[in-house]
Structure formats: C-alpha cells, structure tokens
Symmetry: C2
Amino acid sequence: MIPPLMNTASRKQREIAAREELILDCAARLLGEVGYQGLSMDRVAEAVEYSKGTIYQHFDCKEDLLAGLCLRSSQDLYDLFSRAAGLDLSPRERLIAIAFAYQLFIRLHPLEFANMQTLKSATVREKTSAENRCAMQTIEAQVMNTLTQVVRDGVSSGDLTLPQGLTCEELIFCLWATQYGAASLGISGIPFADYGVPSIAGALQKFNNNLLDGLNWHPVSKEFDYAATQRYLEQQVFNAELRMLQDDAETRQRKSS
Amino acid sequence: MIPPLMNTASRKQREIAAREELILDCAARLLGEVGYQGLSMDRVAEAVEYSKGTIYQHFDCKEDLLAGLCLRSSQDLYDLFSRAAGLDLSPRERLIAIAFAYQLFIRLHPLEFANMQTLKSATVREKTSAENRCAMQTIEAQVMNTLTQVVRDGVSSGDLTLPQGLTCEELIFCLWATQYGAASLGISGIPFADYGVPSIAGALQKFNNNLLDGLNWHPVSKEFDYAATQRYLEQQVFNAELRMLQDDAETRQRKSS
DNA sequence: TCAGAATTTGACGTATTGTCATTTTTCGAC
DNA sequence: GTCGAAAAATGACAATACGTCAAATTCTGA
C-alpha cells in the first residue's frame, strides 16, 4: 500500500497543479475580456477567488504568469504541428499542412499569438522564471525538430534536392519566418487589404506553392492537385477547429448586434 | 516684411518642435539605458529637464510618446528603403538592396525595431493619438508603394513573369513577411544558432536568391553574380552604416571589458 | 483535542500614470 | 519701463498596480 504521507502529498500536488490551471484559465479569459492593459494581478485574484498572495505562490511575477499562458499556447501549437506533420501524406503536403495548422492556430487564438509576441520581447522574457524559460526552450526545440524532419523526409525520399549552400534548417527557418511574419503583420493594424492583399492566408498559400515549385520539390503543382490537399485539410483533418472558428465568429456577431 | 506676430508665432512653433525632438532623443537614449520596463515619464521629464506636465503637453500618454519614437524610426527605415529602391540597378538587384537595407536597419536599431513591434500590438496602438496613427499610415503606404514599384518594374521590364494568380502586392507582402518574421524571430531569444542557423542574414540571402530564381526572375543567379551586388551594397552604398555598426560593437566591447 | 507546520490572506510600501490648480513667464500695448 | 492678460510650466495629488510580509487561518499527525 502507498503510505499515507505520500498520498496526502500527491493530493496536495494535484490540487496545486489544478489551481495553476485554474489561474491560467481565468487569466486567459480576462485577457480576452479586458485586454492586456486591463489585466492586473488583483483582477486575476478576484476571478479565481483566491488572494493575490496565493497567485504569487504560483507565479513569481506578472510576466511569469503571462509566460505560463504563452507556454500553454505553445504546447497547443506544437500539438497541432505534430498532427499535421504526422499525416499520411507526401512530405510537401505535410509541409503545407503545417503551414495551414499555423495559420489556423493564429486565427483560433489571436490573443495568445499576440501575447506570445509580447512575451518574446527581451525585456519581458528576462523577467520570467528559469523554469518557464527552460520549458519554453524544450517546446521550441521540439517544434524546430518536427519541422526540419519534414524537409529531411523530402530530401531523403528524393522529392527535394536542396540548392547548393542552403541547409534544411535554414530553409525551415525562412519558411517559419514567412508564416510568423505574415501573421504578425496581419495583426499589426496595417491595412493590407487596402494595399492589394485581400487575404493573407490566400497570399501565403499561393506564395508557398510557388516557392516549393521554384525549389522543384516534387510533386510540383503541375503534377499534383494541391487545392485538393487544402480541401482535405479543411474538411477532414482540421474540420473541428474550423467549426470552432465559425462558432466563435457567430457568437461575436450575436454579441455585437 | 514679415509681421512680428507671425515671427514670434513661428519661433514658438520651432521651439516646440525642437523640444519635441529633444524629448524623443532623451526617450530613445533612456530606452537604451534602462530598457522598456525602466522607462517612466518621470525619468524622461528629469532627463529633458522639464516637468512632467510639459511632456504631457507634447504627448497625450506614454504610448503616444513611444509611438512618436516608432514614427521616427519608421521614417528612418523608409529613407533607407528609398535609397535602396532608387539605386541604378536592375529590379531584382534593387529588391535585394531593399532586403539588405531592412536587415541593416534592424541591426543598427534593434531597440527601435523591438519598440516598433511592441507599439504595433493592438492594445498599445489604440491608445496612440489619431495624429500619430495617421502619420504612421502615410509612411506605411509609402513603404508599400516603393516596394511594390520595384516588382512592377521587374514585370514591365520583362525580367519577371508573375505566376498565375499571384499579384505584385501579394508577392511583396510575403517577401516583407519573411524579412520581418526573420528579424522578429531573431530577437525572440530562440537560439537558432544551436538549431543549425548560424547567421540569419546569411540564411535570408540564400533563401531570397533561391526564391527569386525559382520565380525565374531574370537575370537568374546562374547568369549574374549577385555576390558582387552584396559586396557593392556593403562596400559602397551602405558603407557608412556598416561602419557605425562596427563602431557600436567596439564601443560595447570596450564598455564591458 | 492540540501544538506546530503549512498555507492563505489582504493591508501596506513603493512606483507609475495622468490631472489640474497654482505659479511663473511671455507678450504686446501704452 | 510698466502693466495686465494670456500662455506655459510646474509639481503636488489622486488613482491604480505590483510585489511583500506579518498576522490569521487551515491542515496534519499524534
């Protein structure tokens, strides 16, 4: 039998973990309701119905709490990436699936994405706990690894021959940068729709296809119907997420009317 | 003769404009010294040797002051872009020059770039004055226009045939996103050097070249020595800026030792 | 039931933003 | 040069938020 000491200890641990989740849940909800400026530790304490001191036992400072949110979001993102990378498709299709998952995540969790951006700024980052930073790095390494593997698969299957001098990692970095940059610019307030870019996701899709064709990553789009891949992703793989997106949009519309 | 009333009025205006510059200068310096967190309006007031109330006559709130900094940086960036776009080179070379200028700017003014990112977050942006927002939009439109024009030149000169469905604006947006995203990821603290990307600028150069070759933008790199273009940019066009960068690095090294 | 440990609490010290009544300076007319 | 009004500068003050810590409360094992 498990000794009673250990039993209570583990119960305590579970309670603490549960409350940490509760705090993060409330913080996430508040972030949506009152925005980044309006989010205060007092408000969080009130929302979770614990005192501020208790919150501070879980998180060293406000930045650390935000970093906790960021960490959870990153984990969610990684899970989406993993699903995309693990699909039974050609490497090039899987890369497209990952890009799709990324843009989907950003549309599903715009606040978290904005939060992640703020959190990554140097001044905030250096105030977060070493624990959080470490966990974050682990996820980042996993993401980088998952992404790079898809390109490696493309190379080893013979679908892709990397141009002289360009490594897998560099290619992935630049692809990542494109997706990330596009999303960042998308929420930056610059009215790109007025400047001839009606749909960022659409522009990215076309760009990616042309880029991969340009690298001669087989099957190239003349030989394969990548629009069908998009449909497959939308209607089968990420159908649930897209539905949530629609529901959210409807709820918001109903609220505002 | 100019009537005395107008004389004093314009002098006042000049004084006010000069002090606004002074405030921005001090704020920029403080931002470098004490960081974003440590920057307070009291400190700025102390640095410019005026009272806080006077600062608030120039800027509605702290965010507005930061937006002022952001605006100045954007103007500097636009000036660099204009220089690059106005060079007597082929369209493809000019595009490379612009990308070079962008990465150069970010290395020259990392704090301003980080600041610009923070400022673009929705919560901060909506607190800035309408005046600042409008000025910002003007610059953004100018940048977009300058960039798009280079692609249009490529098309009209026959060097580039856009693939079916992809517009100039969408292509520029994606290129911009790549540069912006790469810079953002670069300052995000993710140790890409450990993940096989030793030099972000280097990765971008190779990526851009391959991308433009893939789009069959003439002259393609087999027909033209783009490394020579890079050298030309480094040694002739942006030599002064690169020197400043080196000087900065030396100063920093001397400080820390 | 109880003593001691662990946990929770919220009032408090410090810092920061933004305001506004008061003081100081400037300006033009006489 | 002097005066009164207008413009500008000042800094004390209210409001708010972060993070701390001594006191209060709860829990635990005997």
